[in-house]
Symmetry: C2
Subunit: 427 residues, 2 copies
């Protein structure tokens, strides 16, 4: 069958008539569906409900390490939680700090710390010159929002199938005002790619002009496989590679249990060099006396150790994999042959990255919204929300039930095709 | 009986011999006691243990307002929690935001927000000139630590029996670089004083040269009475007074449940003007998606409403009041007549403010430490830890059991008297 680009005008008009009919029929259902954010479903949250009641009595509030988790203290987090993340991230315990319920806040705080004196030697703002940051994209909109909030200029770096374009990075970091880069190195948001060993080694070997350059290594999906972990992607541990290059101070790794236990009530962790941990703790000691240690205790009682964690993640996988499969099936059925769309088939993470015909992503998202399906705003995976090709759409299958998802995907397919045909007809 | 200052040298020498004997006897007990921080005792924490298990089942994770507290969302906090703090602080719900487990962090974050662009118009740092802050003292050492961390110059303001010296404040705020002031307006840390209506009105009427001047109104002990609330101090609500003067944007009020439920796992609240709430929320929206709503739900299920809260605080009072009484009794017994010490008799809060003979506070704290009693470092209630008179000691009776407290107070009394006599003899 011919692709839309090969269609004659009459064929396009016929297709348009048919698509519009289907679209209006779907719109008439008056659905209200949401595929906009990477929110776990209630089924996933239910998997951790033991955590609600695993501190049943007075004597249970004491950690194995001997702390009364209800009271002040233990700035860096419970030793058993630090051990847990040390095992998970393969970083020494002394290089781990437990954060609050949001790794996003850990990152926001660290960027803030870097801007001001006291964090590093003088702080990025000391020079008085504009600060720039590298943003592999498509990337995570909330990373970009932090930079935009602080007026940090975002420089897009092309995201390839195995990580960001290294040549572009090397060229950019010759500028001393380029102070850092955001990375989601495994099951990247939104493309789902995992950085190859070569890219990780290349990033570890970067020699930026800025001596206070920092890579925020947001390992949000480190164990969030959609396939058996053995078949899943493998990410090289950044720190041993960095140490080979003496660049360990350049990396701040974060992760959280937001998509492991409770999205609104998880715990996070920071892994960094001795020097960076000391600087972060110096600031933390002025911010609070401790994070919520009761919640840390609930987590360690529930997740126990890495094997227990991996068994727990298998339950998430059982819920998530069919949802990704349903969207992939709908895309395959709807987009095959028409030649206007390509999409990712990630082995993990929370997103499917859909590329529709250039110049039709915004219109596709608008049509979906009109038909009752909320998608992430077109362009949001790009700095300043500007997708140069207007072709990228981030699809988040985690939250809706499978039946709703199928409907969402069907509406998305019809909308993308309708937008494409309309654009072709307008030529 | 004559005071030490009236003693003859031989009388002082005899007193010294006797005190030294008592001190060495106490030291020989090899005690390890801590009166250094305002930490609730285990007995107090036990009062809230229902909160550990008051979300027992799946259906209980939904707030009355309809949110799944386990998932992302509700940036400003659960409506029922905002209503609770609205009733408590007598501020409209829309002027309340629920924070994390530490009001200290809320204050640190707000100061940080003010320093940088985006929070206010340009941020305090925009001028490039040094920033100054007013510090009524004796005051809270952790407030001063935030300012010191950021290199903000601290200007001491004399704390009087009914609040800070207003004339000193008015003179200081003529300087445009003076950007704010920290206040603990009720049962102040450490003097225990509550600001009089006159002082509150005067502070509400301040007209600083700096248009971005902010008063951090840390209402940490707002319901922490040591007497029946009817007999306790009353604090005028700052916001209606501010509105009379059009200064409502000048005040950021914070409080928390750290000394109501669990010190390490409570919730906090911010009360501020519409304009400030908008600026704080704009920043929060980049920091995280929500605070821990499960913990918010635990709190509202447990504390319910202000009457329930006040009944709960009565239980704290039953534990705290005898401790303050024990210290006061020991001070009365030990210090009467010798004329070297005065101390506060607060109706609430967490501290007794002890003033020993000028130039002997550090030595007194050192002697106590040698005898196994840890006190807050002398000078810490003053900017840069410098007590100009070296006479102030912050006593924190909350944590140790009464019997230990009596021992602590006895050792403190002997140490203070020994330090005084030694100083007088050295003349």
């Amino acid at each position: 069958m011919a692709t839309y680009l090969e269609f004659t005008k009459p064929a396009l008009e016929a297709e348009h008539k048919e698509l519009l009919q289907k679209y209006n029929d779907l719109k008439a259902l008056g659905l209200k569906l949401d595929m906009s954010r990477g929110k776990p479903s209630a089924d996933q949250l239910n998997l951790s409900d033991d955590m609600l009641t695993n501190i049943p009595t007075l004597k249970d509030v004491f950690s194995d390490s001997g702390y009364d988790t209800r009271n002040y203290g233990v700035l860096e987090g419970l030793p058993e939680c630090r051990k847990f993340f040390s095992d998970l991230l393969e970083v020494p315990v002394e290089n781990i700090i437990i954060g609050g319920n949001a790794s996003l806040r850990v990152m926001f705080d660290y960027i803030t710390q870097c801007l001001l004196p006291n964090a590093l030697d003088k702080g990025w703002l000391a020079s008085g010159k504009p600060i720039k940051f590298l943003c592999p994209c498509p990337g995570y909109d909330r990373h970009f929002a932090i930079l935009e909030y602080y007026g940090i200029e975002m420089l897009p770096i092309d995201m390839e199938d195995d990580g960001p374009n290294i040549e572009q990075i090397r060229a950019a970091i010759r500028d001393e005002q380029v102070k850092g880069m955001f990375c989601v190195p495994k099951y990247s948001n939104p493309t789902g790619c995992t950085y190859s060993d070569e890219k990780v080694k290349a990033i570890a070997a970067l020699q930026p002009a800025a001596k206070d350059f920092r890579v925020i290594w947001d390992n949000a999906y480190l164990i969030h496989d959609l396939v058996e972990p053995e078949q899943g992607d493998k990410l090289l541990n950044i720190f041993p590679e960095a140490e080979k290059n003496g660049t360990e101070d350049m990396f701040i790794e974060v992760c959280s249990t937001s998509k492991i236990t409770f999205s609104g009530a998880g715990i996070s962790a920071i892994a960094a060099s001795e020097k960076n941990i000391a600087a972060i703790k110096a600031r933390m000691s002025k911010q609070f006396i401790s994070n919520d240690k009761i919640n840390q205790l609930r987590h360690i009682r529930f997740l126990k150790d890495v094997p227990t964690l991996m068994a727990h993640m298998a339950k998430h996988r059982e819920i998530m994999a069919p949802k990704f499969a349903a969207v992939d099936a709908a895309f395959t059925e709807g987009f095959t042959d028409c030649g206007i769309a390509t999409w990712s088939k990630p082995k993990g993470g929370y997103f499917i990255n859909l590329d529709v015909m250039e110049g039709t992503a915004r219109e596709t998202v608008r049509l979906c919204a009109e038909a009752g399906v909320v998608l992430t705003a077109a362009g949001s995976p790009f700095p300043y929300g500007k997708d140069p090709k207007d072709s990228n759409i981030r699809v988040a299958p985690s939250f809706p039930p499978v039946e709703e998802l199928k409907k969402c995907a069907e509406i998305l397919v019809i909308s993308a095709k309708l937008a494409a045909v309309e654009k072709l007809l307008a030529k």
